[in-house]
């Protein structure tokens, strides 16, 4: 009956270009698509930012 408050949370998805392992985390300022971020936890390859998107959560 009453409209719920909608909050958008921004997420960043990092993907390893060797083992394709994906990791989703909260977006932080300075993130941009295809930027190299860190070494992969599983294979030591480089991870790049594959996606940045917002997810709406109703409260």
């Amino acid at each position: 009956m009453f409209s719920k408050e909608k909050i958008i949370y921004a997420y960043t998805v990092e993907k390893c270009n060797q083992c394709n392992l994906e990791r989703k985390r909260k977006f932080k300022e300075g993130d941009f698509l295809f930027a190299e971020t860190s070494k992969c936890d599983s294979c030591n390859g480089m991870t790049i930012i594959e996606k940045i998107f917002g997810e709406t959560i109703e409260k």
Binding site: I8, A10, Y11, F27, E29, G30, D31, F32, L33, F34, A35, I48, K51, I52, F53, G54, E55, T56
Partner: protein, 376 residues
């Protein structure tokens, strides 16, 4: 105890239905008719005014908030020596006079000249606030300024129309305003909600085209072909692929028209494929993909004119792939659904290349849209 008998009411007697000359009934029917004949428009004007006033209040709120957020952002990120408030207020009042269209011949070049002169002017003057500001920050501030200017202009125009109608007690004048206000409010709300994404440097829905082409550009040699526009070359299944997009991760759409002119002049491609975000119709699902023909590019129309002109003169077919979204989705943080379609669109591009070209031919692929938060 006295009990009222509600079962024995004579309605005919109560409302005087049996007697046509009942004076009370005559008054009940005739007085409102007289009031509505003489004051109907004023009553409607008063009722409609209330709704419009609420809308204008929202527009004023968006205008004020966007201005304040822009000034705060400049103070925080540019560290200007002097208070930028006066200068920003002057920027917000800038207007653009479009060229005379009585003789439309050559009007596109004139519009392009005026729009670019305005862009160059505002870029230089924002930079003058603090010359050491990075290009990335400059593009963000320029977009925030565009948003604040647009919201200010929308508020001023709508308020002017409303006050004019009220001043003359002119109901027909307020009708078109009542009709367009929901659409104006939708766009203004979308612009207001876009501010956080631009401040944070996040990709917006319109950035899906640059996102798709940007990924294909990874590990290729990129060159700056025109202002804020990058080109790279790669091979796909025996075909030469020219990839074009605005230079990210700043907030810009680049100059694809000039870039296409330059590419076609040097290496005439056999087909052009344009990938862009498109406005969905009401009832359509968001993030659906559609293919078609023609130049998929929005904006004021000058870039589209230029691309269509070059393609026509050189007999190059233009194919389009669009990702549907609402106005709000197009200019706010990219949704998960839209971002999730990137791989699917890339597959459709390869399929399109296979279906429409032969090995040895060349393709120009353009990722159209604002490349905020999307590098290459």
């Amino acid at each position: 105890m006295c009990l009222l008998d509600f079962t024995n009411i004579d309605f005919d007697q109560l409302f005087g239905l049996k007697d046509d000359t009942n004076p009370i009934m005559m008054l009940i029917w005739i007085v409102p008719i007289i009031i509505f004949v003489f004051y109907g428009q004023r009553i409607q004007l008063t009722i409609t005014s209330g709704e419009i006033k609420n809308g204008i209040k929202k527009l004023e709120d968006y205008k004020t908030k966007s201005r304040n957020e822009l000034i705060d952002y400049i103070k925080k990120n540019m560290n200007p020596k002097d208070d930028p408030t006066k200068k920003i207020d002057r920027f917000l009042d800038y207007f653009t006079i479009m060229p005379v269209d009585m003789d439309p011949n050559g009007i596109v070049a004139k519009v392009r000249h005026i729009v670019r002169a305005r862009e160059n002017y505002s870029r230089e003057h924002i930079k003058s606030l603090s010359p050491q500001t990075s290009d990335l920050e400059l593009t963000k501030i320029q977009t925030l300024l565009e948003i604040a200017t647009s919201l200010q202009m929308i508020y001023k125009v709508i308020n002017h129309l409303f006050l004019t109608a009220k001043k003359h007690n002119n109901y027909p004048l307020i009708l078109p305003l009542q009709m367009i206000l929901p659409f104006i409010l939708e766009e203004a709300e979308a612009m207001h909600k876009a501010i956080p994404a631009f401040k944070m440097g996040q990709p917006i829905g319109d950035g899906i085209g640059p996102m798709i082409v940007g990924k294909m550009m990874l590990d290729t040699k990129k060159e700056s072909i025109t202002f804020q526009t990058v080109l790279s070359e790669t091979q796909y299944d025996g075909r030469k692929l020219f990839l074009l997009k605005a230079e990210g991760p700043g907030s810009t759409v680049g100059r694809p028209g000039d870039a296409v002119e330059s590419i076609v002049f040097k290496n005439k491609p056999d087909i052009i494929i344009m990938v862009d975000a498109a406005l969905k119709m009401e009832g359509e699902e968001s993030a659906t993909i559609a293919q078609g023909f023609g130049a998929a590019i929005g904006g004021i129309g000058t870039e589209r004119f230029q691309i269509e002109d070059i393609a026509t003169k050189n007999n190059i077919p233009i194919f389009a792939i669009v990702i549907k979204q609402s106005v709000q989705e197009a200019i706010t943080l990219m949704t998960k659904e839209i971002a999730g379609k990137a791989d699917n669109v890339r597959l459709q591009i390869y399929e399109m290349i296979h279906d429409n070209t032969k090995p040895g031919q060349s393709i120009l692929l353009i990722g159209v849209g604002n490349t905020m938060g999307v590098s290459q």
